[in-house]
């Protein structure tokens, strides 16, 4: 350092403002078609090297598709910039997306699935060439059977909702096999169970009965008593529900349904608070499902691919989707000879990458580690609740007994300031964090749902709570400022009205060009 340079700053360095001065990347990236220039190419393709085939005119493409024409660096740079305008778990304190169990996805597990010995396996290879991956499927099934206490588990479903549908399809097949398919035409669920329970049951042909919460925040058992009967096919229920409240009478719910010949199906999409503490089997459930991308750590990938697991008691095993993975003591093999199976729910065996990642995650934790995951997720949630409820204007309906998440309310703050929960979430994005309200309908007024999982530190939770406290204070002092957010995001406040107007909506670039640029 030259002696002629004059100092312009002082040590010690003063503390920055208490909250992070976040600004999201703002690259002003054009839509990719606007980056196109005729004649450019992003990648080369092998030439045929054998005589060309002339297609009949009836099936020959006439005009080339109007895809972008770009060099490789420019394709890469565009997408890297878009990635920077996205907040993954790797870059934010992802506790704001309640019900979704955002947790750390260990990097080492990604290496296993990019290995050619997974990535370049074809699912119809001879069994002797895929013994390793079949063993992973088999061991994973055994571990999830132990975690649920149920007899067998299918890893075929593509996601949690697909697993719910798979379970409904098995329930339908089970009742049909007993000659009760026509008679049992109702499925019972609860308002705080994931909406896919209701939606999948309806799609499978069932009338849906939804139980509302009672004064304690539990699904109303009297309403269940009134609902069950000879028409009951199944109860589809989450516990703890999306409120984070555990229903202590769950075994009674199951008994009531069993008493009329119905099946009980446990939505364990998120089992994060109860791993190794209580299981589907102990409460008497006949079926359950897990989401590997929630409890079992596989990354959310901007909304999939995910992976679901459907667990069943012994009497439902014949209905599992096929093929199943079997082991004869020496080799692993596929059993497709399952006459009562509901059939395929997807191509081949499952979302293998996520089965591999989840397997490696469980192997890194073991029984003690899984219990520590659950206990820490619950501790983190209760700690965060303790912090959030110190914020004036925030409340948690039905008291403080919560496991892994809480559905909170800004009702008080809204009444005082006119600022909605959605507005708070948008402003929170200015500080670099996610925030989510709740599924519809908003039974809890001005809802927000936080689920801190085991991945976040005490410091992370303190920071998240401080951000919400700060935004709530802003809402009181300058509500219009909060409603005008975001300010530090990639883009500014969006006017969504065109999205519901068929004359204006533009679900693709070509629709946008046709409606707005021509």
């Amino acid at each position: 350092m030259s002696a002629t340079v004059e100092s312009f700053a002082k040590l010690p360095i003063e503390a920055k403002p208490p909250l992070r001065r976040f600004h999201q990347a703002r690259w002003d990236e054009p839509i990719i078609f606007e980056l196109s220039s005729p004649g450019r190419r992003g990648i080369g393709v092998p030439e045929a090297g054998v005589p060309a085939v002339e297609l009949p005119a009836a099936v020959r493409r006439q005009a080339p598709p109007a895809l972008p024409e770009m060099s490789q660096l420019h394709v890469l740079r565009h997408y890297v910039r878009l990635s920077q305008e996205t907040l993954g778990v790797d870059v934010n304190i992802a506790v704001g997306q309640g019900t979704c169990t955002m947790k750390y996805s260990p990097k080492v597990n990604d290496r296993f699935v990019s290995d050619t010995r997974i990535a370049e396996l074809h699912p119809a290879q001879p069994e002797d060439s895929v013994q390793g991956v079949l063993e992973i499927y088999w061991r994973m099934e055994r571990m999830l059977a132990e975690i649920s206490g149920l007899h067998r588990v299918s890893l075929q479903p593509n996601s949690g909702s697909a697993a719910i549908y798979t379970n409904i399809a098995m329930i339908r097949a089970y009742h049909a096999s007993r000659g009760e398919g026509e008679q049992r035409d109702q499925v019972i669920t609860t308002m705080f169970s994931h909406p896919s329970n209701a939606a999948c049951a309806k799609l499978a042909g069932y009338e849906v009965i939804t139980l509302m919460p009672d004064a304690e925040g539990h699904p109303d058992i009297e309403a269940l008593r009134a609902a069950v009967g000879p028409r009951t096919a199944a109860l589809m229920i989450t516990n703890p529900e999306d409120t984070g409240i555990y229903n202590p009478r769950i075994a009674e719910f199951v008994e009531l349904v069993h008493g009329v010949g119905g099946l009980a199906c446990y939505d364990q999409a998120n089992a994060n608070g109860i791993l190794g503490i209580t299981r589907a089997a102990e409460a008497g459930f006949d079926l359950c499902h897990f989401n590997l991308h929630k409890t079992f750590s596989t990354p959310h990938m901007c909304g999939g691919p995910a992976a679901g697991a459907s667990g069943v008691a012994e009497k439902l095993v014949p209905f599992l989707p096929g093929p199943t993975v079997e082991f004869d003591g020496e080799r692993y093999f596929l059993d497709a000879d399952r006459p009562q199976s509901i059939g395929k729910v997807r191509p081949y065996l499952g979302v293998t990458q996520n089965v591999v990642r989840a397997y490696a995650w469980i192997m890194a934790l073991g029984a003690e580690g899984l219990r520590q995951v659950a206990e820490t997720a619950v501790l983190n949630n209760n700690y965060l609740q303790h912090k959030i409820l110190q914020i004036r204007g925030a409340s948690a309906p039905w008291g403080r007994r919560r496991l892994e998440q809480v559905r909170y309310s800004w009702e008080e703050l809204y009444e005082e300031t006119g600022v909605h929960s959605e507005d708070i979430g948008v402003r929170a994005a200015d500080f670099g964090v996610h925030y989510w309200t709740s599924h519809h309908p908003y039974l809890v007024p001005e809802p927000f749902t936080l689920e801190p999982t085991e991945s976040y530190s005490k410091e992370d939770l303190d920071e998240y709570a401080a951000i919400l406290a700060h935004v709530a204070e802003e809402a009181r002092t300058d509500p219009e400022f909060v409603k005008g957010a975001p300010y530090n995001s990639t883009v500014h406040k969006i006017d969504p009205t065109c999205l519901d107007d068929p004359e204006q909506w533009a679900p693709t670039w070509r629709a946008y060009v046709r409606k707005h640029l021509s």
């Binding site: 090297g49 305008e85 901007c302 395929k344 997807r346 679900p507």
Partner: protein, 444 residues
């Protein structure tokens, strides 16, 4: 050791947090779980492998018992295809921001919205259709939903489905369309195409595949579209988008709903884990209303010149309406959509055409060469084929086993005497000649 994945398992932090909340132990939080429902023993699981190095070794030992398609010469297709995956596709989809993002909101995840919007927009150009969904799970689901959309749109309950469909996909359709939609099969002729059939007023949709399960390209699609439309039915076509650099987009031949799997567009085979489904329609509000999936659209922001994004017509989804929504929506396969977008941007119109021409030519070459081997008969020699063809080989299992000994996975077994052979741009002429020589040898 405090587990590396669980920061607050550290005892002092844990104690500090419990003290802040004012409870004695974590057990207090579980007071609502009755004793009878508690698991009073540790889970019976394998001992944990807490060092990363040992985990890598454990997994390496398992993976070492696989032989992948870079080690063996594979002609397996049947819905999962070995196309070349550009390095940029892997680079983009392994970016931590995309890989670990939730299906977030338009502000903090603007980049995700734009990347998916661009994917659907590039698909729309390839398909020449104005509406394409945020990916559903896979091509099976896309076909099931497309047929249900047609049934809801027409108010009818029968679908006519080509018999040139994979057995597994048909199994999925039977399960997914139950209990209210009836499937009637359209037979296949000796050319591998759909036979003549009639359509009546109960038919919601005619369903074809393009190319179909035998790799055959339906050449009478325009005629079939007219037949369907004359009776008020829709034409639903499952098309592999990788073929559309050379094949006419189904919409230009009269298809109303086009659907399929995008695994070919930049996803590895991954033992069946690379699938994602698309569904496309024209921009007709009544048809758009039948999509269960999310649709992303451009919206203006408070700053002129800035693109924002949001959900188009959200109030048709199960997120908005529970069981009153269309089917259901949830986490599906977004990252594969982003990846397919990267693929299409790299390829551009010329790359897609060149790839299509290479695949067409090599498929024909493989058919001709293999068909010339004594005892091997190409099932539909006159049909236009893309990427796959069926061959009768006598004893399929014996042939597969014999070729396995040559480190060749010769094809997907369709039945005791028939194989489905897949050829992509990854198979050089030498690879095809190697297969043909090996078949001659084991047959000799």
């Amino acid at each position: 050791m405090t587990h590396p994945y669980i920061p607050n398992a550290e005892p002092a932090v844990r104690a500090e947090m419990l003290a802040a909340i004012g409870v004695e132990s974590v057990e207090d939080f579980y007071a609502d779980i009755p004793a009878a429902l508690r698991l009073n023993r540790p889970l019976d699981l394998p001992a944990p492998i807490t060092s990363e190095h040992e985990l890598v070794r454990h997994m390496g030992a398992l993976l070492g018992r696989n032989t992948d398609t870079t080690e063996a010469l594979s002609f397996l297709g049947g819905g999962c295809y070995p196309h070349h995956v550009p390095a940029v596709c892997d680079e983009v989809n392994s970016r931590g921001e995309f890989l670990t993002a939730y299906a977030g909101e338009p502000y903090e995840d603007h980049g995700r919205f734009q990347a998916i919007f661009e994917y659907v927009s590039m698909m729309a150009e390839l398909l020449e259709m104005d509406v394409v969904n945020v990916p559903t799970y896979d091509g099976f689901q896309a076909s099931g939903t497309a047929l249900r959309m047609a049934a809801r749109y027409t108010g009818r309950r029968t679908v006519l489905v080509t018999a040139a469909i994979g057995a597994d996909k048909l199994s999925k359709l039977h399960d997914f369309l139950a209990p209210d939609i009836e499937i009637t099969m359209i037979p296949v002729t000796e050319t591998g195409e759909a036979a003549a059939f009639t359509v009546d007023d109960t038919v919601a949709a005619v369903y074809l595949e393009y190319p179909n399960a035998y790799g055959v390209v339906e050449t009478r699609m325009a005629e079939i579209a007219e037949l369907a439309h004359a009776r008020g039915a829709l034409l639903v076509v499952s098309a592999d988008p990788i073929a559309l650099g050379v094949l006419a987009p189904p919409a230009t031949l009269g298809a109303d709903i086009v659907c399929g799997d995008i695994q070919s567009l930049g996803m590895h085979q991954s033992y069946g884990g690379g699938h994602a489904g698309y569904i496309a329609t024209r921009d007709e509000p009544r048809l758009v209303a039948e999509f269960p999936s999310r649709l992303f659209g451009i919206a203006p922001t408070a700053v002129p010149g800035e693109y924002g994004f949001g959900d188009v017509f959200y109030d048709r989804t199960s997120f908005a309406l529970r069981e009153e929504g269309k089917e259901w929506v949830g986490t599906a396969a977004s990252l594969w959509g982003i990846t397919a977008g990267v693929y299409l941007a790299l390829m551009g119109p010329e790359g897609m055409r060149e790839l299509g021409e290479t695949v067409l030519a090599r498929t024909r070459y493989a058919m001709d060469e293999l068909g010339a081997v004594p005892g091997v008969r190409v099932l539909h020699p006159e049909g236009v084929h893309f990427r796959e063809f069926a061959v009768e080989v006598g004893d399929a299992d014996a042939l597969l086993t014999a070729l396995r000994a040559h480190d060749i996975f010769a094809g997907v077994r369709l039945d005791a005497g028939t194989l489905l052979v897949c050829v992509t741009e990854r198979h050089s002429k030498d690879d095809i000649d190697t297969l043909v020589r090996a078949v001659r040898e084991v047959r000799g």
